[in-house]
């Protein structure tokens, strides 16, 4: 961090199967967010290999990594991280605009907008597409963030403390959304510090001081 080198992860061996819903649980500073960022190619490990569908992410050039983040992975953050200047609909179809020229966008914008509306309808926000993020509740904003993450039909959804900023009822609603997505086949890796939330996932991985302590299946 800054000029000081801090070992956050100290030998992590993890594999995620297609269709799994994994919760990574650990105390604050255990390295769970760092692990999530490495999985989503937002950060690089100092040592080790990260493979996605048998392809080593460390061999990807920056353009390939950008495309990977755009097409293969969807991020959901604790604080939603929506763009305040854009409407709900624009926030959701933003990933579809990335990497396209103006002509390319005009060629596919109708399709993209329809997809965004479909995702927002799935999130129960069909009536809010023209609103700005500041006009929504916390739970609604998080559902918009999930919608944005799903826009390009990613193979992997990464959620970093998705309920951390919400009350329990609203958080429960978000977890139900994630569970429904997983039932439909979405692969999800979720980071949380709350065991009760972790138990909603199919498998729990516990991180302590940068190491995986144990992995439990929650379906047993």
């Amino acid at each position: 961090m800054g000029a000081t080198e801090v070992k956050v992860l100290k030998g992590v061996n993890l594999s995620v199967k297609k269709g799994e819903f994994i919760a990574i649980i650990g105390a604050s500073g255990s390295g769970k967010s760092t692990l999530l960022h490495i999985l989503g190619a937002l950060d690089k490990p100092s040592n080790g290999v990260v493979k996605f569908e048998n392809r080593d992410l460390s061999r990807f050039r920056s353009g390939q990594l950008n495309k990977f983040r755009n097409k293969m992975v969807g991020f959901v953050f604790q604080f939603y991280h929506l763009l305040d200047e854009l409407s709900v609909l624009e926030n959701v179809f933003l990933p579809a605009m990335t990497g396209k020229s103006i002509m390319g966008w005009f060629a596919c914008r109708r399709q993209a907008k329809n997809r965004a509306k479909e995702v927002l309808a799935q999130m129960g926000l069909a009536e809010r597409i023209k609103h700005k993020p500041y006009q929504l509740s916390g739970g609604e904003r998080q559902r918009v963030a999930i919608g944005r993450a799903l826009m390009n039909e990613p193979k992997l959804l990464l959620a970093d403390e998705p309920t951390g900023n919400l009350d329990s009822a609203t958080g429960n609603g978000i977890l139900e959304v994630l569970e429904a997505l997983n039932r439909a086949g979405q692969t999800i890796v979720m980071v949380t510090h709350d065991e009760r939330i972790a138990k909603r996932a199919g498998r729990t991985v516990t991180l302590v001081d940068g190491k995986i302590e144990h992995k439990n299946s929650n379906n047993s």
Partner: protein, 469 residues
């Protein structure tokens, strides 16, 4: 496409951007107004010098002049690219109004008024004889008595319309010289006044041509007109005399006549530098042909110059001022760059989270640079448009504004009694406007460059985690 949407939304929503837009607008406004006025004054002044000198000048600075000018004039008049040649006598003399005991040093220019009016803009400078330069040296007489004393005060009596007498040798005064000598600004009151002009005649070798009591040649001339060239040094020093009279006064009218200069006007489609070069070649041949003549040595100091070269000493100070002004505005541009830099630094600091979000959905560093560069471009173009519009309106109304200020507060940007200008120039050149606008946009882009590059290099993990703290 998202870059256009985001850049436009940032521009509209982030109020701090307005400061950057205002900085660009103010800079563009100031530069347009000052450069237009300055360029207009310089161009006007250059044009006045061009009209005073004609297109090309063959001559010498030596007070003895040069010989065989008539032969060279004949050669020049045979060239199809030359319209008119006007020989001129130039020297220094002493002027004394007949009723005064005070002498003033003046510069005399002996001209043929008709030829000189064709070769230069002489006719347009005259007060009474602008439409017919042939009468420039017809002495003006007072309508009632024929002659008046020049000490008559203005306003005491309105003089009647003067009459002109072609039989008396007239002289045309520069307007500032006139008011300096007589304290009278309205030349009507000077009809009928007369002046003694004295000159030291010189031989072709530069020695005094006469000795003893005939050391100087003196002749009385009558006020015939005043000239206003708009060039203060000319209008404050020069008296025009008939060519032959000036030639006699200066001792140049001997068996081998001499003149100081030939003022030349080219045909309209001839480029000045091309014409001057042709004349230089003619002159070189002429000098060779005259090598064996008795006064061929007088040709050694003769040069062929374009009007710009000839009037360099007059024009250069104003051009230097214009250059200095441009340099100063370079500093204005640098200030604008720094203002934009500071504003963008603040904006991008606030937008770290957005940058992290964009990178998390696959936006590249180059895309981030393009986004904020587009933002800076919009700041530049909107600021420039505002500055350009405001500058154009201000220039359109600059003279009425100055008139209003003068009427209510006695304030003038340039004191018209000191500066020979009419209206303040307000015609902006398209090329200059385009340069200023493009420079302003470039300044915005440059100002935003460092913050933009820093934004692109930001690690999304760091920016997003800051948001999560």
């Amino acid at each position: 496409m998202y870059k256009i949407i985001l850049a436009t939304r940032y521009l509209l929503k982030r109020r701090i951007t307005y400061f950057a837009v205002l900085a660009v607008a103010l800079s563009v406004f100031i530069v347009i107004v000052v450069m237009t006025v300055m360029a207009g004054l310089v161009n006007e002044f250059k044009e006045k010098n061009h009209r005073f000198a004609g297109d090309c000048i063959v001559g010498t600075e030596s007070l003895v002049g040069f010989a065989y000018y008539e032969d060279f004039t004949t050669i020049l008049e045979q060239q199809d690219y030359i319209e008119v040649v006007s020989p001129v006598i130039k020297s220094f003399a002493l002027l004394r109004p007949i009723v005064s005991k005070q002498d003033d040093v003046i510069e005399i220019m002996g001209i043929d008024p008709v030829r000189h009016a064709l070769a230069t803009g002489f006719a347009d400078t005259l007060s009474y004889n602008a439409s017919d330069a042939s009468k420039a040296f017809w002495a003006l007489k007072s309508g009632s008595s024929g002659f008046v004393f020049w000490s008559s005060k203005e306003g005491l009596s309105k003089p009647s319309e003067p009459t002109q007498d072609p039989n008396l040798p007239g002289c045309v005064f520069g307007e500032f010289l006139l008011s300096k000598i007589t304290n009278i600004t309205n030349a009507r009151y000077l009809a009928g006044t007369s002046y003694s002009i004295s000159c030291f005649p010189l031989t072709a070798r530069g020695a005094l041509a006469q000795a003893g009591t005939d050391l100087v040649n003196t002749k009385t001339f009558y006020f015939s007109d005043q000239s206003s060239t708009g060039i203060p040094r000319v209008d404050g020093l020069v008296v025009y005399l008939p060519f032959e009279e000036a030639q006699l006064l200066c001792g140049m009218a001997g068996p081998t006549k001499r003149a100081s200069r030939l003022h030349i006007r080219f045909s309209p489609d001839v480029k000045i530098e091309v014409g001057c070069e042709k004349i230089r070649l003619l002159w070189q041949k002429f000098m060779q042909d005259k090598t064996d003549e008795t006064q061929s040595y007088t040709l050694d100091t003769v040069t062929v110059q374009s009007w710009k070269q000839y009037r360099r000493a007059s024009i250069a100070p104003m051009e230097n001022e214009q250059t200095e002004m441009s340099v100063m505005f370079g500093f204005v541009g640098i200030t604008t760059v720094f203002i934009v830099l500071v504003v963008f630094y603040m904006i991008i600091s606030h937008k770290s989270k957005d940058i992290g979000i964009l990178k998390s959905i696959g936006v590249s560093n180059l895309d981030i640079i393009e986004l904020f560069s587009l933002y800076a471009f919009l700041v530049g173009i909107i600021g420039s448009s505002i500055g350009l519009s405001a500058g154009w309106i201000f220039l359109w109304k600059i003279n009425p504004i100055e008139d209003w200020l003068y009427k209510h507060f006695g304030f003038q940007l340039w004191d018209r009694t000191m500066y020979a200008i009419g209206d303040i120039p307000n015609q902006a050149e398209f090329g200059m406007l385009a340069t200023i606008v493009i420079s302003a946009i470039v300044a915005s882009l440059v100002g935003a460059l460092i913050p933009t590059l820093q934004a692109a290099r930001q690690k999304p993990v760091e920016t997003l985690q800051v948001g999560q703290l």
